[in-house]
Amino acid sequence: MEGLRAYRLIGAMWIRSTMAYRASFAMTTFANFAVTALDFVAILLMFSRIDALGGWPLPEVAFLYGLSSVAFGLADLAIGSMERLGQRVRDGTLDTLLVRPAPVLAQVAADRFALRRLGRITQGSLVLGYALAAVDIHWTPLRLLLMPVAVVSGAAIFCAVFVAGAAFQFVAQDASEVQNAFTYGGATLLQYPPTVFGRELVRGVTFLLPLAFVTWIPAAYVLGRPIPLGLPDWVAFAPPLVAGVCCALAGLAWRTGLRSYRSTGS
């Protein structure tokens, strides 16, 4: 596919250019790792005073945390650059992408491809590893299978949120904060158990913006907890489906947004 090819080419160019400054790359990656690690330290501090959060003990919260961080980190690595789209729309530099023989989405997504975002993924993986070791999970083939499926689907759902948010920036060019609320905000929300939030919020995050399918629902199944909102167990295997629908909708939103692009007067 032409889009993937363009994405690869542009991404590779940025990687090559970052690797020209290895020391700087190492430092920013470590910084990225450290900043995200602080997040988790906050949770650890909280657990020094309580035993469980909304009925979830530390290792299980770590499980949520790790799953959310890895899924979000993958999406952020892949297409995190899209949050800057509004700037390009406002100053008209999107023009230059439109005259190249590659889909604009791929070009925007690959722009400034930043390997330092691996920092978050590494940190999330470590926490997830700790959780898997610390929780006594009763592994069944289905539960084992669900783990990679959940990570990939979760990343895809976050990608859809990034794309939809970018599409929205065609209309509201200053909306990158709104987008951040949904992406970074969503990822943080998912690090905490659903039981600490109100029922309305959990409903919204399940049926409206289906982030619950990234962590809460698959995690509940793997950990042998009841699925939130009393949903049946099979829902735990819906993430790929939900991700597919989200991506399709985000794609439509993107096309509509791009069609409304009108450049600038100068």
Binding site: M13, L98, S266
Partner: protein
């Protein structure tokens, strides 16, 4: 059905490489007029423009600020979708098949770069090489040629943001040509360039057009660009085509005047010789303006017969003045007839 027939027709007429038929672009502009109040206004940036450009032509597209030049170019590249009319470039509808068209066109925006701002120039070129699937040999050849003619040799490893305006512009022109486009659009390619850079760019474009037969459409505010490059010029104002023809033809529609400068033996009262009129007197030297269409020889003969002449010279009309008058709307009636 009808549409299909026309499509077919256009594809097989080589002389209609670019074709616009009553193309329009209307922008909806929303203006805040107060708290929570908004006013909607329509701006007709391009208002029913029709023209065709043949393969290998080099056309200047001029007009005052806000005339609709950039908007036209953006429609020709597929960046903007026309609000009305039909538009084809190489038989392709640009906004529908933007990526397919991209392989066949080159675009340079004087106001903004298409290069990757933070990366060395050569990185952008390497990426173009892959992205446009340019055969290796062809890429080498084109790059070497551009590097030589546009003097980019020392700049290839410099990040684009560190290039001066003129250097960056040359870099952009090279980038637009690596994939051998059939048509090159240039939106103010000489803006902000010094005399030497301008000459370099013009020389390069002339050669490109002569040797490769690349069709060139360029907008500019520097009439020397047009004088030196384009056999054909289109003037637009308020989104409408006011003139389409050779640069010299502007004189006729622009009611322009030539000037006869005569040096007499001594100071004399202003010469009376209609339709010429004296516009300036400085001692024994007098300036006579006469319609550009009138014969200078006849006038010179009549003046020589009646006045003691020492020397004389004829000055061609000032094209800038003609166009300025045209922009100001004075000549718009006459010019309107110039477009068939």
């Amino acid at each position: 059905m009808d549409d299909h027939v026309t499509d077919h027709f256009i594809e097989h007429r080589a002389d209609h490489f670019i074709e616009l038929d009553r193309v329009e672009k209307v922008f909806d502009v929303r203006k805040k007029t107060g708290f929570m109040k908004r006013e909607r206004r329509e701006v007709r940036a391009v208002d029913s423009i029709s023209f065709t450009v043949a393969r290998g032509e080099m056309v200047g597209y001029i007009g005052p600020n806000g005339a609709g030049k950039s908007t036209t170019i953006k429609m020709l590249t597929g960046i903007l979708t026309p609000s009305g009319g039909r538009l084809r470039v190489a038989g392709i509808d640009p906004s529908r098949e933007r990526t397919r068209l991209a392989h066949r066109i080159g675009v340079v925006f004087g106001q903004r770069t298409t290069l990757w701002w933070d990366l060395p120039l050569i990185d952008s070129y390497r990426l173009m090489h892959r992205m446009y699937r340019i055969p290796d040999a062809r890429y080498r050849e084109n790059l070497d040629r551009c590097v030589e003619l546009l003097e980019l040799g020392d700049l290839l490893d410099v990040p684009v943001r560190q290039l001066s305006l003129g250097q960056r512009m040359r870099g952009d022109i090279a980038a637009a040509l690596l994939h051998d486009p059939e048509v090159l659009y240039l939106d103010e390619p000489t803006i902000g360039l010094d005399v030497i850079s301008k000459a370099k760019v013009r020389g390069f474009l002339r050669e490109l057009n002569a040797e490769r037969g690349t069709t060139v459409l360029l907008t500019t505010h520097d009439l020397q660009d047009i004088e030196q490059l384009c056999s054909r010029v289109m003037v637009i104002d308020h989104g409408r085509l006011m003139y389409d023809g050779p640069l010299t033809g502007l004189h006729e529609v622009g009611e322009s005047e030539r000037t006869l400068v005569v040096d007499l033996e001594r100071e004399l009262p202003p010469i009376e010789m209609p339709p010429a009129r004296v516009v300036r007197v400085e001692g024994p030297r007098q300036w006579l303006a006469f319609p550009a269409a009138e014969s200078a020889a006849a006038l010179v003969a009549r003046v020589a017969a009646e006045y003691p002449l020492v020397d004389l010279s004829v000055r061609e009309p000032d094209i800038e003045a003609v166009i300025a008058r045209m922009y100001a709307g004075e000549a718009s009636d006459a010019a309107g007839q110039a477009v068939p």
